[in-house]
């Protein structure tokens, strides 16, 4: 099921477990699906020089980022036999322990969803202009870099 329209992937704040649960429930009507796979990115309370990360503040070059997310979607549908896929990424403050990225892929069969999910998550990390300010408990900060 291809979707040509560019979607807005961004959500303000953390992605709640209710939102994730509802997304799963919505797929019960799609009975050609035999396998779902989900990636949840969670903000880690890294300790750097004795200071603990308490939250990440996300910003993005939103237009370019949504275009990139769209390209990744198109590439994933091209490469893998997927029934549907959904990507949500947070903007603004997400506290340690909360979810900032939700990727959800579905297919008739299981093998494809493992490969597809890894492809999509790695592409998001490498290609999408999202920026993360790691805020410490004392309100100082540093900038997160994906590696």
């Amino acid at each position: 099921m291809k979707d040509k329209k560019i979607k807005n992937v961004f959500r303000q704040g953390a992605i709640s477990s209710e939102f994730i649960g509802d997304s799963i429930a919505k797929h019960q009507a799609k009975t050609s699906i035999g396998a779902h796979n989900i990636f949840l990115g969670q903000v880690r309370a890294d300790v750097i020089d004795d200071k603990t990360v308490s939250a990440i503040e996300y910003t993005a070059y939103e237009d370019m980022a949504n275009a990139k997310f769209h390209e990744i979607r198109e590439a994933a549908f091209e490469k893998f036999e997927l029934t549907c896929m959904h990507i949500y990424h947070s903007l603004g403050t997400v506290k340690a322990g909360e979810i900032c990225l939700f990727v959800f892929v579905s297919s008739p069969r299981r093998k494809v969803v493992f490969k597809a999910l890894e492809f999509i998550v790695e592409a998001i990390k490498a290609d999408v202009p999202v920026f993360g300010k790691e805020v410490f408990e004392d309100e100082s900060h540093q900038w997160k870099v994906n590696n």
């Binding site: 070059y61 370019m64 900032c100 999408v128 999202v130 920026f131 994906n146």
Partner: protein, 77 residues
């Protein structure tokens, strides 16, 4: 020509603004970056990629679009 320049993350911390209009009379992206280095010296120590009309470009690319963005390292997910 007048360009709209956008700054993000730690680059915006250096420029103290997220967007500005800039008069540019050169040809290449490298010339634009030199102009920005003159205006914001600490930029020289920052790592960034450049997008023109939302596509990544190199220093050798000609300036043709009206929106240029300086993008620090990506941190999505």
């Amino acid at each position: 020509m007048e360009l709209k320049i956008k700054y993000f993350g730690q680059i915006a911390e250096v420029t103290q603004q997220e967007e500005e209009s800039l008069e540019f009379s050169g040809v290449l992206i490298s010339e634009l970056i030199e102009q920005l280095y003159e205006k914001y010296t600490p930029l020289k120590n920052k790592d960034f990629q450049i997008a023109q009309n939302q596509e990544l470009v190199t220093l050798e690319t000609q300036v043709s679009g009206n929106e240029i963005a300086l993008l620090p390292p990506f941190a999505g997910g």
